[in-house]
Amino acid sequence: ENIGVSMALFDDNFLTVLRNGIQNFADDMSDVDVQIEDAQNDVAKQLDQINNFIASGVDAIIVNPVDTSATQAMTAAAEAAGVPLVYVNRQPINVDTLPDNQAFVASNEIESGTLETFEICKNLRAAGKGGGARAYVMMGELSNQAAVQRTKDVHDILGTDMCNFITIVDEQTANWSRDEAQDLMTNWLSAGEPFDAVIANNDEMAIGAIQAMKAAGIDMASVQVGGVDATQDALAAMAGGDLDVTVFQNAAGQGSGALNAALKLARGEDVDQKVYIPFELVTPANLGDYFSKN
Amino acid sequence: MSDIILETRDLTKHYGGVHALEGANFTLRKGEHVAIMGDNGAGKSTFVRQITGVEQRTRGEVIFDGKPVNFAGPLDAREAGIETVFQTLALADALDVPDNLFLGREKTKFDWLGPFRILDYKSMRNDTLAALTKTGVKIPNIRNTIQNMSGGQRQCVAIARTATFHSKLTIMDEPTAALGVQETAQVENIIRTLKEQGEPLILISHNMRQVFDLVDRIVVFRRGRICANLRKEDTDGQDVVAYITGAKTQPEYADAA
C-alpha cells in the first residue's frame, strides 16, 4: 500500500520523533510505502498536499494537522475522493462527525499543561512556598494551538484554590526556541524581580531558561522549572538536577498507531475511530523509565 | 498687466558648503529669448532647478506671470505653464518614444474612469511621428525603448516633448549638446518658431554661434553669480568670453568679481 502523510512541520523536535515512528514502522513492513510531506505550518499547504495525494491515487492519508480547526475541509476533500484518512497527534475539531473511513490517534493538550503546572504547584508547596510564590511563564509560538492551550492550562491551574498562591510575574513568548528563551530569561533577570518558578510550554524553552539562569549564577535548586515533551536534552537536564518537571507524549506510539489505522482502513477493515493516547508526567522520580522512549 | 513673464529676486541655493547660486536677480520679458552662458559648474542648471521646483531654494523669490510662485515640484511648474528640457533629459528608459513623449499627459478615452481611463495609443503614435519629424532625428523604430537609443536620439525625444505642447515659458538646458549638425539645425529652427509665435525662452548653451544666432540677450553666470547682462547688439563673442572667464565684470554686478 501507498500511504501519504502530511506533517504539520518537519523542524520540530517532538513531531520528528513521531514522523520517524511512522517511517520506521513502515520500513519494517514489506509492502507499505509512506510518502511524508512537510506542510511547513501552513494550513493551506496541508490541504493542497492532501489533494495532491488524492491526485496521485494513494491508498490512505495520515494528517498531523497544522490547525485542528482546519480539519473540516480536509475531511471533506478525502471523503469526496473516497480515500481513507487518519488524523494523528492533534485532535481534529470535527472529531465527533468523522465519516466512517476516517479516524484519529491523538493526545489532548489540556493534559500536558495541566500535569506540568500542577506538579510545579505541588513542588512549590512542598518547598514551603505555599504562602506566596511567583512564576514566569514562557509561551510557544502564539499562533500555535499547543502554545495557546498549554498557557491556558497554566492559568486554569493557577486559578484553582490549591494553586492560587502562585502569581505570574510576566508571561512572554520565546517561540518554542532555546535561543530566544535564553535571551528572554536574561532580560527578565535584569529586572531583578524575585521569582520561584519558570513554567515553559516546552522543554527547549525550559532548557534555554536554565542556561540563562545558570549563566547568571542562580542556584537551580531554588527554582522550579517545568517543560513539556521529555526530549533527550530535557531528560539529561533533569538528570543533572536542573529541570524539575516535564511531560511525556508517546510519539512513536502515536505514529505506529496512526499507520496501523490507516492500513486497516485502506483494506476496508474496521478500526476504533478515536484512539486517545494520554500524556505522562515525568519527574526525577520516574525519569529512568523514559530514557529510551523518545 | 506687466510684460514681464519671469523675475527672480536674490535667488540663492547652497548645497552644504557649496554656494552654487548666489543672489540671482533676473528678468525675462514676454516674447523675449535669453541665453544663459557660463563655465561648467557656474550654477546655470542650479538656477533652472530652483525656478522649476526640482529643488527647494535656500532663499529668494521667483515671480512668474505676475505672481510669486514656489513650486513644490516640476509638475506644478509645468501646470503653471513652464516647459523644460532638463540637462538630464528626464526620460523613462524602459518605455518607448510615444510613451515618453506623452509621459504625464497621455491622451486617453473614457476619462470618467479616473486613474483607469483608457490610453489612446494610436493617436499618440501618430502625433509622435509628427513631432519627431520637426526635430529631424532619425530613429529606426519608435517602439524601441529609450535605453536602446543613441545620446542624440534621446535628446531629440526630450526636445520633441517640449516642443509639442504650448507653454508660457520654455527652458532648454543645453538642448543641442549631443546633437549632430543636421539635428542641431532643426532644433534651432524649432527655437526660431517659438520666437515667431512670441513664446519666451531661456536657452542654456555653451555654443557661441548658436547663442548669437538665436537670442536677444545674454546673461553670464560665474561661480554662482550673475556677472553680466548683455544685449546681443552691444556685444560679441570675445566680449562674452571675457565675462565668462572673469576678465571683465559689469559694474552693476561688481560683487560677483
Binding site: 489533494n51 495532491n52 473540516q72 475522493a81 465527533d96 502564539l142 499562533s143 | 523613462a92 504625464g104
Partner: protein
C-alpha cells in the same frame, strides 16, 4: 499593430527580427518542466504525470492533477497579481503574507455561524449579534483591512521616502502581531455557508483568472498601467514629466493590500478556518512567481501573463514532486534550485535572443 515601420528620417526596421516577447520564454520553461515530469514519471513511476494512465477519469487527462496544479497556486497567485504591480513600479512588498493572516482572522470573526451541529459555535469570538451575518459584511471588513494596510504601506513609501523593503518589512512584523493579538492566538472557525462558498471547490481558480484578466487589461491599456511602468522605469523622469508619482505609489500599494485581503477571504473560506499563522512566507512565493514570470526586480518591465505562467510553473513543480514521491527534504532543496534555475533559464534565453541577429 499598425503597418508602418515605426521609423523616422526614412529609416527602416526589420520587423521579422524583433525579439520574442518574454512571456514566450516563460511558457517554454513551463512546457520543459512538464515534459521533464512526464519523462521521469514514465521512467520512475510507470505513470503519466498529466494524462490518465490508469483509467480513473473519463477524459484523457488526470483531471484531479490538472485541477490541483492550478488550485494550489491560485490564492498565492492572487497575491502575486499585486506583487507584479508593485515590482513593475520598482518596489517590493514583504507584507502580503501577514496581511493575509490578520485579514483572515478579522474577516472570519464576522463570518461565524451561531450554531454548529446544534451546539453553540465552540470557536465563537463575538456575541450572537455578530454571528450569522450576511456574507457581504466579512467581505467588506476584509477589503477595509487590506485597504488600510496597503494604504499605510503606500503612504510611508511615497511620503517618507523610506525604502519599500523596510516599510513593508515593518508592516509584515506589525500585521503578524495584530493577527496573533486579534483573538490571542485562537483559531477562528465555522463560517456561514455563504462565506464557505467563496473559496469552495475550484472557486479560487476562478477568482484568480478573473483578477488576472482584469489587471492584465488595466496594466496594458490604462493610464494607471502606463504610469506604473513609467515610475518603475525611471522615477525621477516620471516626476519631472509631471506624473504624480507619490499619489500613484499609494494607489499601487493599496491595490496590492486589497488583493492580499481578498486572497485571505478565499483562503479562509477554502480552509473553513482562520489562524494567526496563515500566509507566512506567501510574499516570497508570490515574488518568486512574479520574477519567474519575467517581471524585472529593477522595475519597469513585466506582465501579468508572465506572472500567471510563473504561478503555473510553481504549481507543476509542487504536484510533480508529490507525484514522484520525492522526499520532503529533497523537495525543498530542489525547489530552491528550480526557483533559481527558472530565472537563469529565462535570463539566458533573453540574452541569447538579444544577441541573435
Amino acid at each position: 499593430m499598425a503597418d508602418t515601420t515605426h521609423g523616422t528620417g526614412g529609416l527602416t526596421f526589420d520587423k521579422s527580427k524583433r525579439a520574442w516577447p518574454n512571456e514566450i520564454n516563460v511558457f517554454g520553461a513551463l512546457v520543459l518542466i512538464v515534459l521533464i515530469f512526464e519523462g521521469l514519471g514514465f521512467a520512475l513511476m510507470g505513470q503519466s504525470f498529466l494524462f490518465d494512465s490508469n483509467g480513473r477519469f473519463d477524459s484523457i487527462f488526470n483531471e484531479q492533477r490538472l485541477r490541483i496544479i492550478i488550485l494550489q497556486v491560485a490564492i498565492i497567485g492572487i497575491i502575486a497579481i499585486g506583487s507584479t504591480q508593485v515590482i513593475i513600479l520598482g518596489g517590493i512588498d514583504l507584507s502580503p503574507g501577514s496581511i493575509v493572516g490578520v485579514t483572515a482572522m478579522v474577516a472570519m470573526s464576522f463570518a461565524q455561524v451561531a450554531e454548529v451541529n446544534g451546539y453553540p459555535n465552540p470557536k465563537a469570538l463575538f456575541g450572537p449579534a455578530f454571528m450569522d451575518l450576511p456574507v457581504i459584511v466579512p467581505i467588506v471588513v476584509a477589503i477595509l483591512c487590506g485597504l488600510a494596510a496597503g494604504l499605510v504601506n503606500g503612504l510611508l513609501i511615497a511620503y517618507t521616502r523610506i525604502p519599500p523593503f523596510i516599510a513593508t518589512l515593518g508592516m509584515m512584523v506589525a500585521a503578524r502581531g495584530a493577527a496573533k493579538w486579534w483573538s490571542k492566538g485562537q483559531p477562528i472557525s465555522f463560517p456561514t455557508d455563504s462565506y464557505a462558498a467563496i473559496g469552495a471547490g475550484m472557486k479560487p481558480v476562478i477568482w484568480f483568472v478573473l483578477l488576472a484578466i482584469l489587471f492584465h487589461f488595466i496594466l496594458k491599456f490604462t493610464i494607471y498601467g502606463k504610469h506604473t511602468y513609467a515610475i518603475g522605469s525611471n522615477e525621477d523622469a516620471a516626476r519631472m514629466s509631471g506624473i504624480s508619482v507619490d499619489r500613484h505609489k499609494v494607489l499601487v500599494y493599496t491595490i496590492a493590500g486589497i488583493l492580499a485581503a481578498f486572497a485571505a477571504v478565499v483562503l479562509s473560506s477554502k480552509n473553513l478556518t482562520a489562524q494567526a499563522g496563515m500566509g507566512v512566507m506567501y510574499e516570497l512565493d508570490a515574488i518568486a512567481m512574479t520574477v519567474i514570470g519575467g517581471v524585472s526586480l529593477s522595475g519597469g518591465r513585466g506582465s501579468i501573463v508572465g506572472t500567471v505562467l510563473g504561478a503555473l510553473i510553481f504549481g507543476v513543480i509542487i504536484s510533480g514532486f508529490t507525484f514522484l514521491r520525492l522526499d520532503a527534504y529533497y523537495q525543498e532543496m530542489v525547489k530552491g534550485v528550480i526557483i533559481v534555475g527558472a530565472v537563469v533559464l529565462d535570463q539566458w534565453r533573453q540574452r541569447r535572443s538579444a544577441a541573435r541577429m
